[in-house]
Point group: D2
Chain length 293, copies 4
């Protein structure tokens, strides 16, 4: 794969950082974002700005997408000036957004019908991981397409795990965010009781980190809570969107998720209480409030 | 602390392994267990068998306890032939069982009234950790008593965290088991949907272990589930007991725990379905059954 | 309103019985159903069978709809041969299906754009109520349209409650089915414990019916459970659909529903366990199974 | 049963009104209450005030109890100056408090061992029902004792339902309060969404009361919520106590109660937020707060 023309759609918290990694020799980067102002920083560093998703796709061999939710992805691809209009044999589309397995399958199918192909490649890792190229990528679609795109995916992260046919990676990603939801909720429920019992936060975190159930995630989010630093790494609005997608998939697959259902309502309350754009760690405030703190 | 006479009450999965660590030069070990048969293996290796908790305490400088539940602890200490009857100035009692913060406070108080002292020292780590002396210990009580007993506690594990006054370590331990409950339930809810969606278990575990929320605990329990190996490391009956203690403490402290409440009912169903004596990983079977698998 | 041409789309459990009430002098009834066989009984009694929703609307002054779910309603109205194609000044559409407030608003808006008007009129009451014209109707839309259609609505039930603008009746209906979900789940959770405690079912029902919280609903569903009669009055599939719509509306309105979220997972399990087409009272079997009965 | 000496222990919201019904010709009433001030109103109307539960029992043929929680009942009966000390052949004890089935069995057993007998007779109905003698009574214990005490029970309410052996009535009562919890929580979750959707409260209540799931309970509590009148009929503290007893019984019987578990946490939050002594209808404020209202 010599000089490669990359298109990147969606320059949010994650997308802007991921796109920037293609400002390297060997790639020509075009970008598109719904509100064009967000394109300026990358334009200043040499990226081309496309007028529409369709135009983005016309001027690129591979288009990556990183958007907030399924409706945005749907518009990006299927709108009259959408990416799909420029799909042609050899064209590749990589969806890194977290969307429903069903939409993932529909997208990939649509590109194939035009002789192109697509890969779902949801990522995990914070905005720092996006900037540093240390994300974990899960892929779904044809194995050959995964193999073909590996060099490009590697620009985003060293760990790329092929999950199976179209939709598989979406399920794996949703399960991952489910586990995050459980870990964070469990930590926060425990913290609030411990706080009411007069225990120092540090002691609790020290024990957690020394135990068999330790995880860097507890250090990361526990530390943020200790500092009351709720600046967004992963917003509550986005996690609730993913919890909804997971519960919807569980509904389709007919698998009860009683724990997630309970947890979702707590995060839902966080949105109602105005924390939708705060980091997911801010959910602790809902539990504190419920506890009369 | 030269040659030390150690008493150990409760020779279950954890206790028998912890007690065995005092079969070293420098300690004289006496043991007691409700059903005397369980004393035989340690007796064969040189331990003395006491006829009652009281007698155990009379022949020891420090008595450790590792029992299944609060009522058993209550009997061990407060019964007419209980440990407390032999408490005297200088005598020390170490409670490693997971009990309620309230019972912990009452125990310690009772020993102090007799001029002795007690420490709560709940542990975390599996039966392997107990055997190898790699448990994590949380302690609560007087700081000086903690300091004084450190050399003995170190026989059980290298990591000993002082949590605060009597009852503090019990809260920390319960929060720890709460977090375990969330992690395991989240993993299992995710696994069942993923299985219904046709995803290989290994892929899911590979992603989890590569992500920021990775934890050795997921490898440990995920592996057991993959092998359908539900041999008891930590029984469902015991975890439900701890979930009940946590919810009770949350009630006393007036802190809602909506996630734990939902999760507890799933583990409760596991008991109803005959898995009480299986390892906590067996909870996956409740979710599978609910999902019609 | 002299001789009125009525169209009825959707001849399921409720629709077939509601439609039959217009086989009276004073009405000309046309019917349409996706699978045409279901039209035969009404055709035998004098109803005309329309070839498409559009044709149904062309030959009627007012079209009623009673369908299983929002996608079916969406197709009925918006498809190329849908009802909307035949909308014209003076034409009226009455949606009795339980759909999302949002779809309700969209439907009504679409008819208004064509100079026609529509009313949402979800109903409550079992299939018996549908047959006997004793349903309760909640209406949403223009008050004048409600007033104009009152004589026709009265054919279905004597109690017709105007709830407000478009979407209001959908919310009220969803809240009603939420309350049903709570009552039935509460009854069943209680019954299972009582059964495990050896209490006769009749005693429990007798106490419930004598208490301040008595409701005909408990007699109705409690009796069915006592007889193990799970023949469908209101299917689990349909109630779960409504629970999903309610949780979705709660999401849009940002109002947590922790109880409903927990209850939904139990009904979800009922679907997974093969009871989707049974009556909602069959949910008791999920709880029995969870309890190891 | 000619002139009968009645003792009444516990003069709270319910007890004071129930006791007053024995200020009729044909009964001699003695009363006891932990804080003696509460005895004054009844003393002014002719009741004797006993110095201790034991003395109360010595001067009465039948002692009724109406206390706040199981520990209070335990003290009343088993304390050194408790009722049990005065138990003798022919003496009868009637427990109207809501306690655990287990405590109920222990109480009754203890009286029998002394040649006396006891009946559990938990009641349902508000303080108005207590005052007017329109309570519903559930009884458990020996059928002959139930028959023997019928004339006295009838003073409290016309509807007296024999549930079975000792402990049965406690279970039935707990199930009843479980159903109340579900009905109230369901109503409140629905009300909050409806309020956020701009629906008038009255419309919602009108629909509920017209539907098959109507219940006087919805009128009673719905009306209180509409008026924001949270004056205590049945306190949140007491209902949470009963929810705890129910979940404990469900634990013993190994029957999962996922809905009640979720609901309990909401009422628990009500306590944490300072509504413990308000009426159970005040739980709506927790949901409003969670929803950011």
């Amino acid at each position: 794969m010599s000089s490669k023309r990359i298109g990147f759609a969606g320059l949010g918290l994650m997308g802007s950082r991921m796109a920037a990694r293609f400002l390297e020799p060997g790639y020509e980067l075009s970008v598109w974002n719904r509100s064009v102002e967000k394109c300026a920083p990358l334009q200043a560093k040499g990226a081309r700005v496309a007028a529409s998703p369709r135009e983005l796709a016309e001027s690129a061999d591979v288009v990556f997408s990183s958007l907030a939710d399924p409706p945005a992805v749907e518009r990006l691809v299927f709108a009259p000036d959408g990416v799909l209009q420029a799909a042609r044999p050899g064209f590749r589309y990589v969806e890194t957004s977290t969307i429903s397995p069903d939409l993932s399958r529909r997208l990939i199918e649509a590109f194939r019908e035009r002789g192109a192909d697509a890969l779902e490649a949801p990522v995990t890792g914070s905005k720092n991981g996006a900037a540093q190229g240390t994300l974990v990528l899960m892929t779904g679609g044809r194995r050959e397409t995964h193999d073909e795109l590996l060099p490009l995916l590697a620009v985003l992260g060293p760990k790329i795990i092929y999950c199976g046919e179209a939709g598989s990676a979406a399920v794996v990603k949703l399960v991952g965010n489910t586990i995050i939801s459980f870990m964070l909720e469990g930590l926060c429920e425990g913290l609030v009781v411990a706080r009411k019992a007069g225990l120092p936060f540090e002691t609790l975190l020290e024990v957690i980190m020394a135990s068999g159930y330790a995880s860097p995630y507890f250090t990361f989010k526990g530390g943020a809570i200790a500092r009351r630093d709720f600046e967004q790494h992963f917003s509550i609005d986005l996690l609730v969107k993913d919890q909804n997608l997971m519960l919807q998939e569980a509904h389709v697959r007919q698998a009860p998720m009683p724990g997630l259902a309970a947890i979702r309502e707590v995060f839902q309350a966080a949105r109602a209480q105005g924390h939708g754009q705060a980091d997911i760690a801010a959910v602790v405030q809902v539990l504190e409030r419920a506890a009369g703190l």
